[in-house]
């Protein structure tokens, strides 16, 4: 194996993405440690989603370096390969398999062999069911196990998607606006869940809800026009004049 270039889990340097001349990301640099949770804030169009697209291989950057575990060049891999490396992603709007049951959603997400032949011969063994039981417990969906995912409430869908992320057993979770459309109680519960997850895994959370970000109590990065505007504790970032000007408002 090659010697890691950097000890950090995720290392982005000088990433630039442009669509027809518009720079969605402009020389963005960011580093995430093992078992670190980071909150990303920033106005619309700051490049938050594009950044996630780059990390997960959906978008190729025009230039820059993206390394995972110091050795894997993310810009050379596609979504599937990156997911297999151990990067899981939750989308802004909950994206689950609506026609499948909650159980099947988790079954598909479980860290198992992903090849067509392997799945063709597999029908869900008991060992899988045990893992699913634990996950259902964790995302509080045990009672919904056999319901179609499409029938769940919005909050339940968000949690199911987080559950699927956990089922993948990733090293890094990218979570896009988990609190959107949730009640206050659900939001608080979600923050608890994420803190719990962050004990063993690295997590990047994109969120607009400042209360939620405060609940998380982690280092915050503010993006603006495709690059990092400020980084530090939430208090420090909120005090930054530029952040106030472009994002938080006076």
């Amino acid at each position: 194996m090659t010697v890691p270039v950097t000890p950090t889990l995720l290392y982005l340097d000088n990433i630039t993405v442009s669509f027809d001349g518009f720079r969605a990301l402009n020389a963005l640099s960011l580093a995430i440690d093992h078992a670190e949770m980071r909150a990303i804030i920033g106005p619309n169009g700051a490049g938050k989603t594009t950044m996630m697209d780059v990390i997960t291989g959906k978008t190729q950057p025009n230039e820059g370096t993206a390394l995972f575990e110091g050795t894997h060049d993310l810009t050379a891999l596609d979504e599937t390969a990156i997911a297999e490396l151990g990067i899981g992603r939750k989308f802004q709007t909950p994206t689950i398999f609506e026609m499948h049951t909650v159980e099947d959603n988790l079954l598909l997400a479980l860290k198992n062999r992903r090849g067509p032949l392997a799945t063709l011969l597999s029908r869900g063994v008991n060992q899988d069911m045990v893992r699913i039981d634990a996950l259902l417990e964790r995302v509080r969906l045990t009672a919904q196990r056999h319901r179609r995912a499409g029938e769940l409430s919005h909050g339940q869908k968000q949690w199911l998607e987080i559950g699927m992320l956990l089922a993948q057993e990733p090293k890094l979770l990218l979570i896009d606006e988990p609190a959107a459309g949730m009640t206050d109680q659900e939001t608080a519960d979600t923050a608890d869940l994420l803190r719990d997850i962050a004990r063993s895994k690295a997590v990047i959370v994109v969120e607009h809800d400042m209360t939620f970000v405060r609940d998380l109590g982690v280092k915050v990065t503010c993006l603006h026009e495709g690059s990092v505007l400020a980084e530090g504790s939430l208090d420090a970032v909120s005090a930054n004049e530029r952040v106030v000007e472009v994002y938080l408002g006076r």
């Binding site: 669509f19 027809d20 518009f22």
Partner: protein
């Protein structure tokens, strides 16, 4: 080759007779017609043609038309008016009682007749006749006509007739045994300037006993002509390609609008083209029976009507079916396929399954010659028309509010909707516009294709290929796509044949789509991907 050899034999034969052409030869030659021998008839024609007698042309023409008659040792011809004339005197001969038999001709005699007529009409006062004669001489290369030819060239005032006369002289001199090398070299030069297939045939079939420098020059000239012809053939193929591209453009451009805005594949698009063609047919029927004087303008009258018919049907389809299927492109595809079946069968039930005759106005018939190629006026009209439609659509999309809305919806439907654009109305209008354009395409296509219920089916796959190749949401993509496919198709055809060429192109497009799934001119950005 056989043809050329025959000409050569005839030339040699005529050569022998030319020496017999003396003054007073007319009267001497005339009785030979009565011998009922092809050889004698042949000889007589040569002698008469060279005699200078004013009756010669009448005699030879009569012979050609089977009006030269012999009876009791005398020769007569019957004028087209029916009047019988004594060929020897030119006097009317009213009271012939004995039996008259027409002089028989065979192929050899016919060739001799053509050669003779060529030389006889070279001096006609009618320029068209002179041109015709010069062409005949060029083909027959009868050395006996040389003196007449020289005389004709000297007094010819019209440059284009003169050109043909000169090339006829060159053709004769080239193969004339006793011509001076310098004359023959000049002839090579003249033929080279003429530069067509016939000149090439002459230059590359030079008799082997010709002087070596003439053979060398002829070889050079032949190569030059070949290069020129190859060039013009390429140009001609490109033209065919542009012409095919225009047809594809017409068929595809409406589809590009509907696919671009609404994102639905309208499988009934070809049937909109068909409706346009049938509208043209109906307009012409009405004009024929009621206002025959308007026939020349029938296509212009059909244009707005075809637009109206097709766009109304289009809007009807959009409002009653497609509107309910937005967001389900595959279902839309199936539903519009069903509509296309209904429209086809509907037209078949009303108009019958056979092809309907759509006439071509006089101003669209004929052809324009440029260099070594010929462009038919109806193709030119379609190319011009396709580009005009394209330009008008471009302007409509750029400068009208409908165009603005359509472009907005094409680029980002949700955003356009939230900015207060009534997207459903834009959809209906865009669909109507796309269908209407297909309708007027039908008017144009009625001129080059069979107007039958299946008309649309022939274009649907090609149109999709154009749209998919060019990319969605950009009319320029459609233009480039149509022209590329049209020209590529016609350039492949000479090498691969029509069918294989088309298959090769389809495969190329399939591979291309896989390289660039969103076509040549794709929209980029996040909005597109959802």
């Amino acid at each position: 080759m056989v043809f050329l050899r025959n000409i050569l034999q005839a030339t040699v034969l005529l050569l022998g007779m030319a020496s017999a052409a003396l003054a007073g030869a007319y009267e001497e030659a005339l009785p030979k017609f009565a011998n009922d021998s092809y050889v004698d008839t042949d000889a007589a024609i040569g002698a008469i043609a060279g005699s200078g007698n004013p009756l010669s042309i009448d005699v030879v023409e009569s012979l050609r038309d089977g009006r030269l008659l012999v009876g009791s040792g005398q020769v007569f011809f019957r004028r087209t008016s029916g009047e019988l004339v004594n060929a020897a005197t030119g006097q009317a001969w009213g009271n012939q009682t004995g039996e008259l038999k027409p002089v028989r001709v065979n192929n050899r005699v016919r060739r001799a007749i053509e050669a003779a007529l060529g030389s006889l009409t070279l001096l006609s006062s009618d320029a068209a006749k002179r041109l015709e004669a010069a062409r005949a001489v060029f083909r027959s290369r009868d050395e006996a006509t040389l003196p007449t030819l020289e005389k004709a060239i000297a007094q010819e005032g019209q440059p284009h007739v003169r050109n043909v006369l000169e090339s006829a002289r060159a053709a004769i001199l080239l193969s004339k045994q006793d011509a001076l090398p310098i004359q023959r070299l000049a002839a090579v030069q003249t033929l080279r300037n003429r530069g067509d297939q016939e000149a090439l045939a002459l230059l590359s079939n030079l008799p082997s006993q010709a002087p070596p420098e003439v053979i060398a020059a002829a070889g050079n000239a032949a190569d030059g002509i070949r290069t020129r012809l190859a060039f013009w053939e390429a140009v001609q193929n490109v033209w065919y390609g542009i012409s095919l591209g225009s047809v594809l453009l017409l068929a595809a451009i409406g589809l590009a609008i509907t696919f671009g805005t609404i994102g639905v594949i309208n499988m009934a698009h070809g049937e909109m083209v068909m409706l346009g063609a049938y509208t043209t047919f109906m307009v012409q029927e009405l004009i024929r029976s009621n206002f025959p004087g308007l026939f020349e303008a029938s296509l212009l009258i059909a244009l707005p009507l075809a637009f109206l018919v097709a766009s109304s049907v289009g809007i009807l389809i959009e409002r009653t079916v497609i509107r309910f299927l937005y967001g389900r492109p595959l279902e839309t595809l199936l539903a519009t396929w069903g509509i296309s079946l209904i429209l086809q069968q509907g037209v078949r039930t009303i108009f019958g399954p056979t092809n309907r005759e759509v006439g071509t106005p006089a101003w669209m018939s004929g052809a324009l010659d440029i260099g070594a190629m010929s462009l038919t006026y109806n193709r030119i009209a379609i190319v011009v028309f396709a580009f005009s439609v394209f330009a008008i659509l471009l302007l409509v999309l750029r400068y009208t509010s409908l165009g603005l809305y359509v472009r907005a919806v094409t680029q980002n439907r949700r955003m356009a909707g939230s900015m207060g654009i009534r997207t459903s109305r834009v959809d209906a209008l865009a669909f109507g516009l796309g269908s209407g354009v297909a309708g007027i395409a039908g008017v144009a296509l009625s001129q080059i294709d069979n107007v039958s219920p299946n008309l649309g089916q022939g274009y649907i796959i090609d149109s999709f290929m154009v749209v998919v190749f060019g990319g969605v949401g950009n009319l320029w993509g459609t233009l480039v796509g149509a022209m590329t496919l049209g020209i590529a198709n016609k350039l492949l055809e000479p090498y691969a044949g029509a069918v294989l060429g088309k298959i090769a192109l389809l495969i190329a497009i399939i591979v291309f789509i896989q390289r660039r799934p969103r076509g040549l001119f794709a929209l980029k950005g996040r909005a597109v991907e959802t």
